[in-house]
Amino acid sequence: MINNPILGRELLGRLRSGKTLAAIVVLAVASSMLVLLRWPSGGTIDIISRGSVQVFRPLAYALTLAVMMLVPAFPATSIVTERRRGTLGLLLNSPTTPLKIYLGKLVSNVALSLLLISVAIPALAACLAMGGVSVVDQIGPLLIVLCAMALQYSALGLWISIRSTSSDSALRVCYAAVLALAVLTLGPLIVLGGLPGIPSMLAQWIAAISPLSALQQITGDQGLATLLGISTGWIHFVVASLLVTLVLATLTVRKLDPILLDRARPVGKVRDKTAKQSFLRRISYLVDPNKRKGGIPRWLNPIMVKEFRTRKFGRLHWLIRLVFGCAIVSLLLTVVVASGTIDWGVDRIAGPMVLMQVALLLLVGPSLGANLIAAEVESGGWQILRVTPISSWRILTGKLASVFWTMLLILLATLPGYAVMSFIQPAMSGQVGNVLISLFVSVLVVISISACVSAFCRSTPTATASSYGVLLALFAGTLLVWLARGKPFGPVFVERVLMFNPAAAALSEMNTPGFEQYNLTPSAWWAGVAISAIAITVFGIRIWRMTRPD
């Protein structure tokens, strides 16, 4: 393994990069800060050591989030980038076996992940020194879980990378898959958990793939586990994680073959059809995807139309499918809400629903927004746009509108759940209205920040990863502060921090447990609108500057 040239190249290349250094520094500073804030400064000592647990908990969640964010990004773009550059062909034509190539990439990424995780060991040691946290029950299992996550997400990234055609789509799919593994794996438990026998056991094992169950056990925060009836712990997670890694590794190595490069170009032929065929296609798709498109009308912004047309799922027939898909998912959630109301209460399920909706916005938004300028610059299209008479204002509005309408459609398609909630508890109508405003503000924040980040990046993968990073720092980072409420952070400070998170405003409106005491509306809306306004202004100025002569 030491002599594996792929391992040497990937590991050294990444160790020398500024991004790795930045990730290490950010993680080291963040974990140290959490401990420093809690470290006893006066003469009183917390005898029952609740304080150290309160530090350990957000630290564990922060490390998990960091692994989820940082680990899959590189392997997700690794193989697809090599294929686009033509270096994968060179590797596959060399005597290096596919297994060796795969192991080189996997081990290098896992090794770097371990390096990242090791940065937080001093902070974890400080928690240990404060007492109330043990190596056997907390720190050891946490480190094992993080390592298992690093292995699983590296394998996942490589599997997605080998199946993708572009690095930005690989990143998108990879983050969606990470989210699915963390959250959607809990779904079967909600549906089948109550049933006896094999279905329930199966649902428990699927839920074990999510690191949430392991984290709940390690941190002693059993709220979600009790709510969903999770009976698995961190050992189950490690076993499930290794199994998933094994399956993904097998699938990837099997696909790592020169035939991978032998792909036909899409013909893209528009076929002339009979009236009957045309009618049938319209019935099937509502619009005919194979029909030759008409010209862009004068009243439409051509930039917006172009953005829709260049997205794989931006064509009308795909948008219709997407909206219907979201509506069906939302209705399924509604069924869950309706069937679970006796046990849980509408206000109890509203929190996870808001979180799911924000997760969907966070998943789709940055991948759309980050493409706006970076993809244009990367493809060379920006230079051509610069020599056209189109104004920077039309570029700005066209680009933003293309993401805004898509996000709005997704948001609208997920609303039936709220409609049912209002029907079950009419008193909640006002709250639901406020939640919708908060979600709308979330959409604005997601779009404006990702667009702004995109304007400063020259490649789409960088823009996508940076957008996800910034938005997760805003949405999840503020929730980490909330997790550390009480100690070290006081209620006023937590409320001020949560003010910058419109999703937190939605959660507080729904009286989600832990958010009841915060009064975040309308201040969180104004904060969100202000953040969006600043980001859009910066985006506009950047576009204006980019369209000026050098």
Partner: protein
């Protein structure tokens, strides 16, 4: 190819500096309507910098550049209507068909939808790309993309077209097609500025050439004049018959010409550079024939643009 004497593109003492580095140093050139200017230079010579200033993407540090009397840096918005620019990178968009791609750029140029449809048909006909209208642009071959690139450049009917490396990476057939397209555009009265590293290709279509190295203009003018200036020594070759002593023939030739005589035994050919007049060369031929040298061919080997460029590059290296 040039039919009118009207100067359309003009640069005067055009200079561009990036800090201490001088990318372009007092460039003065002009191109007449309907002319094709071959813009030649090694990588980093300043070609793209000049082009960027001409299309309004960059501002000069000093000097002026104008197209059809419009200042390129002061009135950049007007320039965009006058110039069609095809950069060396195609600028592909995913999931977009050729017709949609052209329609988008037509809309961006503000061409009304009704006229746009007709114009797209026209430019696809000019560039022989109508058959690929439903193909996805990212799946086109390089040659196809270059043709679509020219079609896109033509959409707003520009007076001047600036094409950066249009023949780069094309196979011979596609190169011939590209040459036909460019000649056709010039014949329509458009002014073309074309950069290329494939100099024989440029020599076939250009009226004028500008050779630039290290940001400085080394040669500029009509192709024949530049060739004469840069390659004053003409090269001649004498192909001998199968019989006869080639060394003796070379010795006899050395007696009547000034330059070095080189011998190619395999080809049974003698080569020599000369600046003599046609009359003097006629007497050289007489001298050889009178010496019973069996001559199959006596002809001038035409110098090409590559020779001229190498001559300039060598001169630039010496001064550097």
């Amino acid at each position: 190819m040039s039919e009118s004497g009207e100067i359309v593109v003009k640069t005067e003492n055009l200079t561009k500096r990036y800090g201490e580095f001088c990318a372009l140093d007092s460039l003065s050139i002009h191109v007449k309507r309907g002319e094709i200017l071959g813009f030649i230079g090694p990588n980093g010579a300043g070609k793209t910098t000049t082009i960027k200033i001409l299309v309004g993407l960059s501002r000069p540090t000093s000097g002026t550049a104008s197209i059809a009397g419009v200042d390129c840096s002061q009135e950049a918005s007007k320039i965009k209507h006058l110039v069609g620019y095809m950069p060396d990178k195609f600028g592909s968009y995913d999931n977009m068909r050729v017709r949609e791609y052209l329609d988008f750029f037509g809309a961006v140029f503000g061409i009304p939808a009704r006229d746009r449809k007709k114009r797209i048909e026209e430019v696809m006909e000019i560039t022989y790309s109508a058959y690929m209208q439903d193909k996805f642009v990212e799946s086109l071959s390089h040659g196809m993309q270059q043709r679509v690139g020219i079609a896109r450049t033509l959409l707003h009917d520009p007076e001047v077209m600036i094409l950066d490396e249009p023949a780069n990476g094309l196979d011979p057939k596609a190169r011939i097609e590209m040459r036909e397209i460019l000649l056709r555009l010039a014949a329509e009265g458009r002014t073309l500025i074309v950069t290329s590293h494939i100099l024989p290709e440029l020599a076939r279509i250009c009226d004028t050439v500008a050779i630039i190295t290290g940001g400085k203009l080394r040669a500029f003018g009509e192709l024949d004049d530049v060739m004469r200036d840069l390659c004053p020594m003409r090269n001649y070759e004498i192909q001998l018959g199968q019989d006869g002593d080639i060394d003796a023939a070379a010795e006899r030739l050395r007696g009547c010409v000034e330059g070095d005589v080189s011998i190619s035994r395999q080809e049974r050919t003698l080569r020599f550079p000369t600046s003599e007049t046609e009359e003097s060369l006629a007497s050289v031929l007489t001298h050889m024939v009178s010496g019973n040298v069996q001559i199959v061919q006596f002809r001038e080997v035409a110098s090409d643009l590559e020779d001229a460029f190498l001559q300039v590059a060598a001169g630039a290296d010496k001064t550097a």
